[in-house]
């Protein structure tokens, strides 16, 4: 049996120093990258209305925006609210059905920070469910526009980009992830009857 002898103090000191310096360098690099990113925001292309945008997981084409009280179902609700409705075409390009468009098409307005849209399928005039791969659909997204906030002449839509990771950083699982903004689209707002 060999007895474990305590390592010399100097060796332990070196080990602590190297580990500490490594940590310091890592945080400095990370901080520097954050600063650099903040100083150089990526330029997002402004895409004209009606042009198809490739977001990675979806093809999105924005067509028009309008404000009205009657949702795309055509049925006047019991308690009508002002709705900002945006018409668009979507095609799911992934290998699986998906209904997550919340991060893909975002109404970029300070009044819309915490409101989620309802998505309507124009084919059925009802709330949309899953979008199957490779089946283009015309949809209308409707955001509730707060009362008392003036309606702008134009709205800016942010179209998000997604990337597919075969192995994610945590589990090595395959999935789609949001990655920045693919394009901005400015839509004139029409007044619907």
């Amino acid at each position: 049996m060999t007895e474990s002898t305590p390592k010399p103090v100097r060796q332990r000191l070196y080990a602590f120093l190297i580990a500490g310096l490594g940590g310091l360098v890592a945080s400095a690099v990370s901080f520097g990258m954050t600063l650099y990113d903040a100083a150089h925001p990526p330029t997002v292309p402004m895409v004209p209305v009606g042009q198809q945008i490739d977001t990675g997981r979806w093809f999105v084409t924005l067509h028009s925006a309008r404000v009205g009280n009657i949702p795309p179902t055509g049925i006047e609700p019991f308690d009508p609210k002002q709705l900002m409705m945006v018409d668009l075409d979507v095609t799911n390009r992934s290998a699986e059905a998906s209904n997550v468009l919340d991060h893909v098409v975002v109404l970029d307005d300070p009044a819309m920070q915490k409101t989620w849209p309802t998505i309507y399928l124009n084919r059925d005039k009802s709330i949309a469910g899953f979008f199957n791969p490779d089946m283009p659909e015309r949809v209308t997204m409707a955001w509730e526009w707060p009362a008392g906030v003036p309606i702008p002449k134009t709205i800016t839509m942010k179209v998000g980009r997604q990337i597919y990771k075969l192995r994610d950083n945590l589990y090595g699982a395959s999935n789609w992830y949001d990655q920045g903004i693919a394009a901005n689209v400015e839509l004139p707002v029409a007044e619907a009857p």
């Binding site: 699986e96 084919r123 469910g129 899953f130 199957n132 791969p133 659909e137 192995r167």
Partner: protein
């Protein structure tokens, strides 16, 4: 000096081995994928908790379904696939909440959620042991996903290591019917797929 070279070489070899392992081992999504039980049409396919048999798969361009007393036609940019069969629970009462059409290219199309009347025809149905139930699955797929497609049924998508039944259908894109109606019945079987054949 030699020691430093050795250290560098060891680090390089370790990095190469790790890189090789990362790229040759199965993906996490493969390790945790459902256990597949395959079968053919008109054949009882046995999963551990239930068994499933499909006896007909029909393809149509327009599907009409009775919803809230009115028959409404449902259009699609592709085609509708209507599959009928039977499900048996084995040891406990269960629901079959996940149904998918798996195309030959490996693309998965979800059970349609556009037809409210079809909700209780499989996903909302409860199957009790000893009381087999008829099931109806409706899919909306592009025309090129029909040939060579399979129907995939599982209890839920939330238990990835559970069984998944895959039935290879003999669906053909040469035999697309112009219209199919799903009629709800007051007595007898809960629905009838029309025209009958």
């Amino acid at each position: 000096m030699i020691q430093a070279v050795r250290l560098v070489i060891a680090a390089l070899i370790a990095a190469a081995v790790l890189y090789g392992l990362q790229h040759t081992r199965p993906l996490y999504s493969q390790i945790t994928s459902p256990i597949v039980v395959s079968g053919a049409m008109k054949e009882k396919v046995d999963a551990s908790a239930f068994s499933l048999s499909l006896d007909s798969v029909r393809v149509t361009r327009t599907l009409s379904a009775e919803t809230f007393g009115t028959t409404k036609p449902y259009t699609t940019s592709g085609v509708w696939v209507v599959a009928e069969g039977r499900a048996d629970a084995k040891l406990e009462t269960l629901g079959l909440t996940s149904g998918e059409w798996l195309s030959r290219a490996g693309i998965r199309y979800a059970l349609t959620d556009r037809i409210p009347a079809s909700i209780d025809m499989m996903p909302g149905d409860v199957i009790q042991p000893g009381l087999p139930r008829r099931i109806l699955l409706i899919f909306e797929v592009p025309e090129n996903a029909v040939v060579g497609g399979s129907v995939v049924v599982a209890r839920t998508k939330l238990y990835p290591l559970d069984n998944e039944v895959r039935v290879a259908t003999k669906a053909s894109d040469q035999d697309i019917e112009p219209a199919i109606t799903i009629r709800r019945n007051d007595e007898g079987p809960p629905w009838t797929v029309l025209p009958q054949r």
